[in-house]
């Protein structure tokens, strides 16, 4: 598997993709099992416009909904995310690791390397989608479910080209800039904005066509699962991907390669400016390294800025005025949807016809815990295992500090960053509510923000524990994400199935929106349970890290 750049890249990435695809198939199996017990007629009375928006085929078997939800929602986001990671790692990742120069020390051109890596990304994405496509039919056959009029093949083709587009965008940015964070951040931001935008813009009178400028529109805008392939939409995605591939080739052949993994942060730039040097020198210099936790926070300032920006401006401030512009009559239909359906997108089912319900679905349901989780899991996994992988932990512990101090300082950093995201969400939603005249109670917003932050922190502390036990970043990241997805799924389907309901109380999600904090305020017992869970996991991390050998590298 290491014979060529193509096969090595494939070899490096197939496990992650296999885990992602496997998780999606398991989720699909569970969802189809639960949904297969439903009455098929439950969606038939919905208006056409709403069925279309929700991707519900005409006369759909309720079980077919699980394919729509799992592949159209989780599948599309997961595969695009994996492609972005591959595209960003292909050039910028090799530069960061210092291996790109080594690679080019062989008689291979930059073009050769880039094409091989792009081909590997395309092949792996295609393989993942073929497996998902086949799994849909196999799972349906096993459970005796009729997929009816669902055109899974057409959707798979759209899914493939959508995945390809985001991967190629990341590749182009990676090739032009050599910055992995930029190559991950920009496509991810575009993906999130697109995902949210194509759902919301059609609900606003006069804005129906705005979503068409977003690439995500071409994944599902023509509803391929019900209408079959749209050649026009596919050509847009394919053309853009080819253009981005060509741009990547141009970029990698034009610029100097980076020699080291040195990123330039906002503070670094301000430090270079004569106007701000004096104050920033203190902030970026001596203050930044005054404590382990402050240094850790500083190292993740880019991640914090992006996450807080998305939660404050897009998910907070913008949602209020958007809600005020929407045709709330549509939400009357939405409220008729059974709570089981809302459960699948992380809502407690309070309906979208109230501002509280709208914010709960859009901003708080999945988004806030996911945003906090991203930050907390990064700190939790990198804080210990990352320092070991970078071979800096030995140097750090050569100073007169206890191992538990390192774990606790990393925990403080995690708390600080998570609360900054939570506070950004709280202020953004509050401002959005005021701008839209929605009248949300600030104390209730704070309650929902705090609970969402704590859910994210519980998973961050789980990542910290796995990092402390295993000393491997991948174990901590994939382990935590896998457990989080499983728990989210268990919590989502708990109201549909008695057997699952009994174990849902073991998931942090059960203590988040179950009390509808945006309407009813803080559920202190829920907060206490989440806080105790966090403390227990951090304590376990402290003891685990104290007792094992440090790793020299991953």
């Amino acid at each position: 598997m290491l014979a060529t750049v193509f096969t090595k890249t494939f070899n490096d990435r197939w496990r992650g993709m296999a885990i992602a695809v496997g998780s999606l198939i398991v989720g699909l199996l569970l969802a189809m099992w639960v949904y297969s017990g439903f009455e098929a007629s439950m969606f038939n009375d919905l208006p056409e416009v709403f069925r279309s928006l929700m991707n519900i085929p005409e006369n759909a078997d309720a079980a077919a909904m699980s394919v729509s939800v799992f592949y159209g929602f989780y599948g599309a986001l997961t595969l695009a995310g994996m492609a972005i990671a591959m595209g960003a790692a292909s050039i910028a990742g090799e530069e960061r690791a210092g291996t790109f120069g080594l690679l080019l020390g062989n008689p291979k051109s930059r073009t050769h390397v880039l094409v091989a890596k792009a081909a590997s990304m395309v092949a792996l994405s295609a393989l993942a989608i073929v497996v998902l496509w086949g799994a849909a039919y196999i799972v349906a056959a096993v459970l005796g479910v009729d997929l009816g009029g669902l055109n899974v093949v057409a959707y798979a083709v759209h899914l493939f080209l959508n995945t390809l587009f985001y991967g190629m965008l990341a590749l182009a940015l990676s090739a032009w800039t050599g910055s992995r964070s930029l190559a991950i951040g920009v496509p991810t931001g575009l993906m999130i904005v697109g995902f949210i935008g194509v759902g919301i813009f059609p609900l606003i009178e006069g804005w129906e066509n705005v979503g068409k400028v977003l690439p995500w529109h071409y994944l599902d805008g023509s509803h391929p699962m019900t209408n079959g392939v749209s050649i026009g939409h596919l050509l847009v995605l394919l053309g853009a991907s080819i253009l981005l591939g060509a741009t990547a080739l141009l970029g990698i052949n034009r610029r100097d390669l980076r020699s080291q993994a040195v990123g330039t942060t906002l503070l670094d730039r301000l430090r270079e400016s004569p106007m701000t040097r004096k104050i920033v020198d203190r902030l970026a210099g001596s203050m930044r390294v005054s404590h382990i936790w402050i240094k850790t926070v500083s190292e993740h300032q880019g991640l914090l800025i992006v996450t807080a920006y998305v939660m404050f401006l897009i998910m907070g401030v913008m949602m209020g005025p958007l809600y005020a512009l929407m045709d709330t009559a549509l939400f009357q239909y939405a409220d008729q949807l059974p709570e089981e359906l809302w459960a699948f997108v992380g809502s407690a089912g309070s309906g979208m016809s109230t501002p509280e319900g709208f914010y709960e679905v859009e901003t708080f349901g999945m988004t806030l815990p996911a945003a906090v989780m991203v930050v907390a899991i990064v700190i939790g996994s990198r804080g210990l295992a990352g320092e070991e992988a970078n071979r800096t932990m030995g140097l750090l512990l050569a100073n007169p500090i206890k191992r538990r101090t390192v774990v606790l300082e990393k925990t403080y950093a995690m708390i600080a960053l998570a609360f900054m995201v939570g506070i950004a969400t709280w202020t953004g939603v509050w401002i959005g509510s005021m701008l839209g005249g929605l009248g949300l109670n600030p104390a209730n917003i704070a309650a929902a923000s705090l609970l969402g932050t704590m859910v994210g922190l519980v998973f961050g502390s789980l990542a910290l524990l796995l990092s402390a036990v295993a000393g491997r970043t991948r174990v901590a990241v994939f382990g935590t994400i896998g457990i989080a997805l499983a728990m989210f799924l268990i919590n989502s389907i708990s109201i549909l199935n008695d057997a699952v309901e009994s174990i849902a109380s073991f998931t942090p999600f059960d203590y988040y929106l179950s009390n509808e904090p945006l309407t009813n305020g803080m559920a202190w017992d829920n907060l206490a349970i989440l806080t105790v869970s966090f403390v227990v996991l951090v304590t376990a991390a402290v003891f685990s890290f104290d007792r094992r050998d440090l790793r020299q590298s991953n």
């Binding site: 040195v262 942060t265 030995g394 512990l397 050998d549 020299q552």
Partner: protein
């Protein structure tokens, strides 16, 4: 007795699964000495250092540093040591000065005037980001952070890698100053010439086992010498190989190079009887040759 010992290990053993990385290591390093720890790659040098620094825990045996238990009192120990890990890695996004400041904050009580003097001596640029530095310049930052608290015990794993000869010379001086001050240097290396210049005593480790601890002078006095013989005709190695004291023979046409610790009279007699000897030169073997000799003996 213990007052004089900087590092003491007794039966120190570390297994990774079934693999014995360190086997029953008994070693005493005295205060005020520069102790060289020699061995090829994978011999167990770094494992030994990581064990005594409590990065990894011994399978059995104990270690004390400056009279303190390496595990139970690891934090107190680290208050008194300076450490340069092998394959040094630091935080690429911090400048050298930020890096030093970070460790100085964690440690406390660092004299910045002394840091500046160390930077001057090593010609280190602390204004650049560590990730932008060459490996040698990065190593300088690592050395400064190890020396900056004037530690009682300096533990360094391949510390001079990447340093240019001028800086290496300054670094040697710095080590001798530490020893002259009554403090201790534990220098792990496979660069024998470095240890030869700096160390008072040398420990040789192979396959996790300490196979010898000798003073550098004692090692040299083992009288292993390199002897070069020049003849007026081509010679064959088989003439010299059976002679007592011949450890290795290399023949190149008219020239023979021997590693030899036997009777010179016997050697010269055989050489003169078989060939016409034109010239002879001999010199004391360096540690490289002694080192190789030890390994040959142990592996034989």
């Amino acid at each position: 007795m213990t007052d004089r010992i900087a590092i003491h290990t007794a039966g120190l053993t570390k297994h990774y699964g079934d693999f014995p990385a360190l086997v029953d290591l008994n070693l005493d390093v005295e205060k005020g000495e520069i102790f060289g720890f020699l061995g090829p790659n994978g011999a167990g040098k770094t494992t030994m250092i990581r064990t005594i620094l409590d990065e990894i825990r011994p399978t059995k045996g104990i270690a004390t540093l400056l009279g303190m238990d390496s595990h139970q009192q690891s934090v107190e120990i680290r208050d008194h040591i300076g450490y340069v890990p092998g394959d040094l890695a630091m935080y690429p996004n911090l400048t050298g000065r930020d890096t030093i400041t970070y460790f100085a904050n964690l440690r406390g009580g660092v004299d910045w005037a002394f840091v500046e003097s160390l930077a001057d001596r090593l010609d280190a640029d602390l204004s650049k980001k560590v990730g932008d530095l060459s490996s040698g310049n990065r190593q300088k930052v690592g050395l400064i952070q190890a020396f900056m608290n004037k530690p009682d015990l300096l533990i360094m794993d391949e510390p001079s890698s990447g340093l240019d000869p001028l800086v290496q010379r300054e670094f040697q001086k710095m080590m001798h100053e530490v020893a002259a001050d009554g403090r201790t240097v534990f220098l792990s290396s496979h660069t024998l010439s470095e240890v030869q210049r700096a160390a008072d005593r040398v420990g040789i480790i192979r396959h996790g086992k300490l196979i010898a601890v000798e003073g550098v002078a004692d090692l040299r006095s083992k009288a292993i010498r390199t002897v070069n013989l020049y003849f007026d005709e081509p010679v064959v190695a088989s003439v010299f190989e059976p002679l007592p004291g011949v450890r290795s023979v290399e023949v190149e046409n008219h020239h023979v190079m021997l590693s030899f610790d036997g009777q010179m009279e016997t050697l010269l007699k055989v050489a003169a009887e078989r060939y016409s000897l034109l010239d002879i030169s001999t010199h004391e073997a360096d540690l490289e040759e002694i080192f190789l000799t030890y390994y040959e003996e142990v592996s034989a």
